[in-house]
């Protein structure tokens, strides 16, 4: 599996994805001046912009790398050559996943370091009333990274049942958009305000969808990092456990489907 991970990482670097990220990361240079447009929260805006830029880059990576990795291998007939070696399909798929996860982690670390420099610079020029808590910023970054790794697993699951990249890309994007609001919808339909307006059947349907789709809202610690609030550590523990369980479930499903897939 380590070899597949290495090959995955090498492939990503060979495709010059990292150079592309570095071009996008040059936007960090403009963050302090963009944040200075704020009237009262320059440091806070610099953190908002930095975390948003990192999230955007990680989202692109998760969706496009996650959704095209398997498809590209099959298109290039690379999968057939690899699977003719004494490597199981499970090892191949998990190796691909962990390689992508490692790349996302690496990118997040590099971009996080650039973000820290931009934020430090902005906060030196316009000091904030509330000091930046760097450990919470690091936690926000870590959980954002976990969120996008989970999204890679969603994309890979969809890749195993699709013959083109359309379903994995658009399916992952839809799952991502829905995952941010499932909690709100679930709470609303089960609130007393919706008791008369929503039928029991609709409530059950919402509950099923809520449990099926990933709930990524819990991974969002931007507010804690931006406004320096202590996050709920017990809650973060549950979220981390949720990440492990849900990712395991997705990878289990993906390997099962990939093992059964006919390849001609």
């Amino acid at each position: 599996m380590l070899n597949i991970m290495k090959v995955t990482l090498k492939g990503i670097f060979r495709d010059r994805v990292f150079q592309g990220i570095m071009v996008l990361a040059s936007l960090f240079l403009f963050i302090p001046s963009a944040a200075s447009l704020s009237m009262r929260q320059v440091t806070e805006l610099s953190i908002t912009l930095s975390l948003s830029l990192i999230s955007f880059i990680l989202l692109l990576l998760a969706v496009f790398l996650g959704a095209t990795s398997l498809w590209k291998d099959m298109e290039r007939r690379y999968t057939f050559s690899v699977l003719s070696l004494p490597i199981s399909r499970t090892t191949y798929l998990l190796g691909r996943f962990f390689g992508l996860a490692l790349f996302i982690l690496l990118t997040s670390a590099v971009l996080g370091a650039a973000a820290c420099l931009a934020i430090k610079f902005a906060s030196t020029i316009y000091p904030s009333e509330r000091a930046v808590v760097w450990s919470w910023l690091a936690l926000a970054l870590l959980f954002a990274t976990l969120k996008y790794i989970l999204l890679v697993a969603v994309a890979m699951l969809l890749s195993t049942v699709s013959t083109s990249f359309f379903l994995p890309i658009f399916g992952t994007l839809c799952a991502f958009m829905a995952s941010g609001i499932t909690q709100q919808v679930y709470e609303y339909v089960h609130s007393p305000a919706a008791a008369d307006a929503i039928s029991p059947l609709a409530k059950s349907a919402v509950s099923v969808v809520y449990h099926l789709l990933p709930n990524l809202a819990g991974f969002d610690l931007k507010v804690n990092a931006i406004y320096s609030f202590a996050p709920n550590l017990a809650g973060l523990g549950i979220t981390a456990a949720y990440f492990c369980a849900y990712t395991a479930m997705l990878l289990g499903g993906a390997t099962l489907l990939f093992n059964r897939r006919e390849m001609k």
Binding site: S36, L37, S38, M39, R40, Q41, V42, E44, L45, T48, L49, L51, S52, S55, F56, Y126, E129, R130, K147, F176, M177, G180, I181, L216, A217, D220, K222, V223, I226, Y227
Partner: protein, 287 residues
């Protein structure tokens, strides 16, 4: 032909682009300010659309309002009459949207305090928004400070003003706000307190447009205070109230003559209070 086609396409494209860029830039720059504020979808739609970027979406709404307001303030340089009244309702809607996306966004509260009170005169709306912010920004003394000022100066609700000034004093540890709380309870020195408030806002403003807007208002209030002091001296020395501001100027109690930076004319209303025909706002040209 097929070999030349790409080069021709490129050259035609480059030429057309060079010709069009000038007029296109002018067209965009000269767009009416109302169009620049533009249409923003309902917050109910924006919330799910902004996915995990709600803070960014909130900040961008505030920036949109700031750019729009900056345009309006820059127009005031051209004279005391601006071509269109600012879309205060639109600005208020966007700022309310911004705090729904990010209830911690201080820029939204700060800006709303500026436009909803002095310009839109929506004091209750402004205080509701500030009270909403206080639920989230529990450490921030600015919000109760603003609310205290609004209750005292605009709404004349002195007990509430004192309550919020006390809260601002507790949060900031500044004795000044506790003193203000006491003064508001006595209902005295309204203009002086407005000057103290505006001076503080000018000193703490980092945004050029906002700072300029507060400076103009501060200038107007300083003129009002000068007239009030002249009236007081007139009453003491002449034993009665002056009939008009002009009389104060003629009798040299007021020197030089007061100038309203909003282009209006100061006068004494029947109760003796100093007012201005501009109502502390730039006049607008109606079509």
């Amino acid at each position: 032909m097929s070999k030349q086609l790409p080069m021709m396409l490129l050259l035609i494209g480059l030429f057309s682009y060079a010709v069009l860029m000038g007029p296109f830039t002018s067209y965009m720059r000269d767009k009416p300010i109302e169009e620049k504020l533009g249409y923003v979808p309902s917050i109910k739609l924006l919330k799910p659309l902004s996915a995990d970027q709600k803070e960014l979406a909130g900040a961008s709404l505030v920036l949109k309002v700031m750019m729009y307001f900056g345009n309006i303030v820059s127009l005031s340089h051209e004279g005391p009459v601006i071509s269109k009244p600012p879309d205060l309702q639109g600005m208020s809607r966007l700022l309310h949207g911004a705090v729904q996306l990010d209830p911690y966004n201080m820029d939204a509260y700060y800006f709303a305090q500026g436009i909803l009170t002095w310009d839109a005169r929506q004091y209750k709306v402004a205080n509701d928004l500030l009270e909403h912010g206080m639920k989230y920004r529990t450490w921030d003394w600015y919000l109760p400070y603003f609310a205290g000022f609004n209750y005292a100066y605009f709404l004349k609700d002195y007990p509430k003003a004192a309550h919020y000034y006390n809260l601002a004093g507790d949060l900031s540890g500044e004795a000044l706000y506790k003193n203000l709380a006491g003064r508001y309870l006595q209902e005295s020195g309204q203009t002086e307190l407005a000057i103290a408030y505006l001076t503080g806002m000018v000193h703490t403003s980092t945004n050029g447009a906002i700072k300029q807007s507060y400076e103009i208002r501060l200038k107007a209030f300083r003129e009002v205070r000068r007239i009030e002091l002249a009236v007081d001296r007139f009453v003491v020395e002449q034993g009665g109230k002056p009939a008009s501001v002009e009389l104060l100027v003629q009798t040299r109690y007021l020197k030089p003559a007061p100038v309203d930076p909003y282009g209006g004319r100061f006068y004494l209303d029947p109760s003796g209070k100093v007012s201005t025909t501009s109502k502390f706002a730039f006049a607008t040209k109606h079509k």
